[in-house]
C-alpha cells in the first residue's frame, strides 16, 4: 500500500503532525492524490500499531494537553501529537525504495473495460467512443503540459517542485500512453473491419470501412 510507505518515508525527515504530513505529501505530488485528514490518522495509527512510528509529544503540546494516551486516536489532543519513524519504520522505507512496484495486479481501468464491452455489442459506434475519449485525453494532456510549462513545475526552485514536475511527467506519459493505445485500438478495428469485408470487396480502401 503506497500511501503508507510514502508517509513513512516523509516521516524519515523528522517528526511531524498529521496535518503537516498531509501538506508535505501534497506539495510533492501536486495534490494529484488528495488525502483527507482522517485517512492520514488512520494510517498513522496502523503504523504505530505495527511499531513503525512512535509518538513524540513535544513540550508545548504536553503543557497544553497534560498527558496524552496512546490509545485515544481521535482525541483532539492528537492533533498536537507528532510522529517519528522508528528503526523498524526506517527499515520498511529502505525496503520500499529497494523493491520495484509490482505490476501483478493490473489496476482496474474503466476505459479498457468500456471498450472491451463496446466492441462485443452490436450497434455501438466504437470508433466514435475512441475519438471522443481521445479528444478528452488530449485535452487533459494539454492541461498537464500547460501546467508543466508554467507555474512551479516549469522552473523548479527546490526538490519539492522537482517532485511535482516529475509527477506531472508521469501524468503526461500516462495520458500519452492512453492516446497511443486508443490510436492502436482504432487501427486494429479498422483492419478487422477491412478483413471482414475483404472476401467480397477486396479493393475497398480501409479508410472507408471505419466510418
Amino acid at each position: 500500500m503506497s500511501i503508507r510507505q510514502a508517509m513513512l518515508a516523509i516521516l524519515e525527515q523528522g517528526p511531524m503532525y498529521g496535518y503537516q504530513l498531509r501538506a508535505e505529501f501534497e506539495q510533492r505530488t501536486g495534490e494529484t492524490w488528495p488525502l483527507n485528514i482522517g485517512q492520514v490518522y488512520t494510517t498513522l495509527t496502523r503504523l504505530e500499531r505495527d511499531g513503525l512510528v512512535e509518538v513524540v509529544v513535544d513540550e508545548v503540546a504536553r503543557e497544553v494537553a497534560g498527558h496524552g494516551g496512546v490509545g485515544e486516536p481521535l482525541s483532539s489532543d492528537r492533533t498536537h501529537v507528532s510522529y517519528r519513524a522508528t528503526e523498524a519504520g526506517r527499515g520498511e522505507v529502505a525496503d520500499w525504495f529497494a523493491t520495484p512496484v509490482p505490476r501483478t495486479q493490473p489496476p482496474r481501468d474503466e476505459l479498457a473495460i468500456k471498450l472491451a464491452i463496446a466492441v462485443t455489442l452490436p450497434g455501438v459506434d466504437v470508433g466514435s467512443i475512441i475519438q471522443r475519449q481521445r479528444s478528452a485525453t488530449m485535452t487533459a494532456l494539454q492541461d498537464y503540459t500547460r501546467l508543466k510549462r508554467s507555474g512551479r513545475a516549469a522552473t523548479p526552485q527546490d526538490s519539492a517542485d522537482l517532485a511535482w514536475s516529475l509527477v506531472l511527467d508521469s501524468l503526461v506519459f500516462d495520458a500519452e500512453a492512453e492516446v497511443r493505445w486508443l490510436d492502436h485500438c482504432e487501427a486494429r478495428l479498422r483492419r478487422a473491419a477491412a478483413e471482414l469485408s475483404s472476401p467480397t470487396r477486396s479493393t475497398q480502401r480501409d479508410g472507408g470501412v471505419a466510418r
Binding site: 475519438q131 485535452t139 498537464y144 500519452e176
Partner: protein
C-alpha cells in the same frame, strides 16, 4: 482576429486514374496569431500534404490557401517563393541545414535570398540565433553541432526577419525527449509572442504543447480539441 493561415475547402489529389490518392478532402483550417496548432494523424492521413500546401510548396487541386490575406493561387512560383522568404518559416524533422553554410549563413539564407545585403542579413541572423540561445555558435558549420543545436539553427532560420507563420514538420522527431521539449518551448514562445504556428506530429505528448490539436484521418479533419482552462484535479494548482 484575422487568421495568418487560412485553408479554405482545400483538396489535394496525387496521381490520377487507378493510382489516384486523395491526400486532403475539402479541409478548412485556420491558424491565428499567438496560436500554436498541432496536426495529428496516422501515416498517410495528409498531415504533410497540409503543411506543404500551407507553405506554398505545393498547390491544392481545389480550394484556396491564404497567407496573411494573400491568396496563394494568385501568385506564380516566384511569388510563392517570396511568401516563403518573407512570411513563412519551415522547420523540418531532419533540420535540413545546408552543410556548406555556417549557422549564421543558414539563418541569413531567407533574407539573403530576399536580396538583403549580407551585413544586414547577418545581423538579423545573429538576433535570431540569440533568441534561440546559440548566438555563440554562429560561425560553426552544421557538421560541428549537435542535433539539438542544429534544430535551434533551423528554428532561428524559420523566425528570422519576423515571419508570422511557422510550419514545423515533426520538429522533435530526431531529438531526445529533453532536447525535443526545449525546441517545443522555443516554438511555443514564438507563438506566445504573436506568431501563428502549425506543427505536424504523431506524438500526443508533443501535440499537447499546442493550443489546439487537429486530428486528421484520410485527408479529413475528424476532431479538434479546444483550449479550455485546466479543470478537475488540477484546479488547486491553477488557483494558486
Amino acid at each position: 482576429m484575422n487568421a495568418v493561415l487560412h485553408l479554405a475547402a482545400v483538396s489535394r489529389i496525387h496521381g490520377e486514374g487507378a493510382t489516384e490518392v486523395h491526400a486532403l478532402r475539402s479541409v478548412t483550417f485556420r491558424a491565428h496569431p499567438g496560436e500554436l496548432v498541432a496536426v495529428m494523424g496516422p501515416s498517410g492521413s495528409g498531415k504533410s500534404t497540409l503543411l506543404t500546401l500551407a507553405g506554398g510548396l505545393d498547390v491544392p487541386t481545389s480550394g484556396s490557401v491564404w497567407i496573411e490575406g494573400t491568396d496563394l493561387a494568385s501568385l506564380d512560383n516566384a511569388g510563392r517563393a517570396r511568401i516563403r522568404r518573407t512570411s513563412v518559416g519551415y522547420v523540418f524533422q531532419d533540420f535540413n541545414l545546408i552543410p556548406a553554410l555556417t549557422a549564421a549563413e543558414n539563418v541569413a539564407l531567407p533574407r539573403e535570398l530576399d536580396g538583403e545585403k549580407g551585413r544586414v542579413a547577418r545581423r538579423l541572423a545573429l538576433t535570431a540565433l540569440e533568441e534561440v540561445g546559440i548566438a555563440d555558435l554562429a560561425d560553426r558549420f552544421p557538421d560541428e553541432m549537435s542535433g539539438g543545436q542544429q534544430q535551434r539553427v533551423a528554428i532561428a532560420r524559420a523566425i528570422v526577419g519576423d515571419r508570422r507563420l511557422i510550419l514545423a514538420d515533426e520538429p522533435t522527431g530526431a531529438l531526445d525527449t529533453d532536447t525535443g521539449e526545449e525546441i517545443l518551448r522555443l516554438l511555443r514562445a514564438r507563438c506566445d509572442a504573436g506568431a501563428a504556428g502549425v506543427m505536424v506530429t504523431h506524438e500526443a505528448r508533443h501535440a499537447a504543447w499546442a493550443d489546439r490539436v487537429v486530428f486528421l484521418r484520410d485527408g479529413v479533419i475528424v476532431d479538434e480539441t479546444g483550449a479550455d482552462e485546466p479543470e478537475g484535479l488540477l484546479a488547486g494548482e491553477v488557483g494558486r
